[in-house]
Symmetry: C2
Subunit: 269 residues, 2 copies
Amino acid sequence: MVVIGHRLFHEPHKVFSLGTFTEALGVAKSTISEDIAALRQICERFQLGRLETLAGAAGGVRYMPSCTPMQVRSLAADLAARLRDPARILPGGFLYTTDLLSLPALVSRLGDVFATFFAEQRPDVVLAMEVKGIPLALMTARAFNVPLVTIRRGGRVTEGPSVSVNYVSGSSRMVQQMTLPLRAVPQGARALFIDDFLRGGGTARGVYDLMRECRAEICGIGVLIEATQPREKLVDRYVSMLTFDGVDEHEGTVRIAPSRWALGETAGE
Amino acid sequence: MVVIGHRLFHEPHKVFSLGTFTEALGVAKSTISEDIAALRQICERFQLGRLETLAGAAGGVRYMPSCTPMQVRSLAADLAARLRDPARILPGGFLYTTDLLSLPALVSRLGDVFATFFAEQRPDVVLAMEVKGIPLALMTARAFNVPLVTIRRGGRVTEGPSVSVNYVSGSSRMVQQMTLPLRAVPQGARALFIDDFLRGGGTARGVYDLMRECRAEICGIGVLIEATQPREKLVDRYVSMLTFDGVDEHEGTVRIAPSRWALGETAGE
């Protein structure tokens, strides 16, 4: 049972046929079935994620990381508390988040949260915008077991034919370029865009345009932190974990709180 | 046993006291001890990694991902075979590897390999050079459960006081700059540098200089692919998975093979 769990937990969303395990373990199919049924109950009872059995020729079992609303709420509350530390205030009213986005166990847990939010969307790829969004996007890609695709700023792609679009970054108010190797996203793919921060949505808007050029489709946008200002975003469908209402550099206060999605006030997206 | 395994596998290298599990599961300490002993045997028998029990007040149990020499060899052989595909040849004799470095299950496995190579080094942080090396470094950081620190090219750091050094990149032969937020690496830290490619070692040399400025120490360098040319590298201690001897653009052949570390011909580093 431990061996089956180890395999399933390590490659989420992959369908393993029961035969995989009868061979590896040298036991009968009926034993494996019983073990899987027991595993499913354990996952449910201890809220470790979901185990799904699929019938038929292509059938088998797969594990899907997933978080309960309570787990999401408590993770968001914990993150907000850590981000309220005045030492995180950077010149210009920015917030130092890089250290948290660099803790593998935390980022991996956040990947599970996004995988829960977007479970129904079944993305084929997860998109990251270089550089700071990459860990979060990679761990979300890991939770879905799909490739990560990293979009580069500027035109610095040396990996064969590429596609570029212009976009206006919210923080700099300047027209910039984002680029992708053409072969990175297959036509018709469903792409989930995960980023660390959303201000005006200019970057996300650019990612929409980029996917249109690739003949692919954005099936969701997830960000760790959204800014409350500006109120009008250039994209209207996204999910965030935290809401950032600015800092007071004089008083040394950071106004950040769990978002309505994290609080479970909406069913997501 | 499944719940214990799930927790341990998810947060490798973290020491869990037995009390953590008696509380979560509501069973006696002796039962937990028995389960852990059984788990250790299973991990050994099915080569899932190592389980270590620590005695004393700070004691408990921790899981360390680790690969057998056979697993490393077969992963390296499989990767080399996939990289020999002539479609991967890029103008200038470069090799397209981005897609493989974007597969979470594969990169996570490679992270386990580096965690095996450097198990004795006990790093405090894992260093990545933006952009392509990040997934590999993050998954290595995950296997060690230590923070990832991303070094930026150029001086574009907006995260408070930073430290920069110059270096000569092997591919461009130009003097460049690499930068790190000063608070990212604590003084005295043991840093493991993980990257996707090593040609002349100019980047790795720069990372050495950067760590000296941070009063930290490089405890190891691991790369996925090293180029055979130039023979003289600017760093002498590193570990690679694959050796790249160039491409023949006319014949469409890629000369790449498992390295001596992957073949187990040396005890590493």
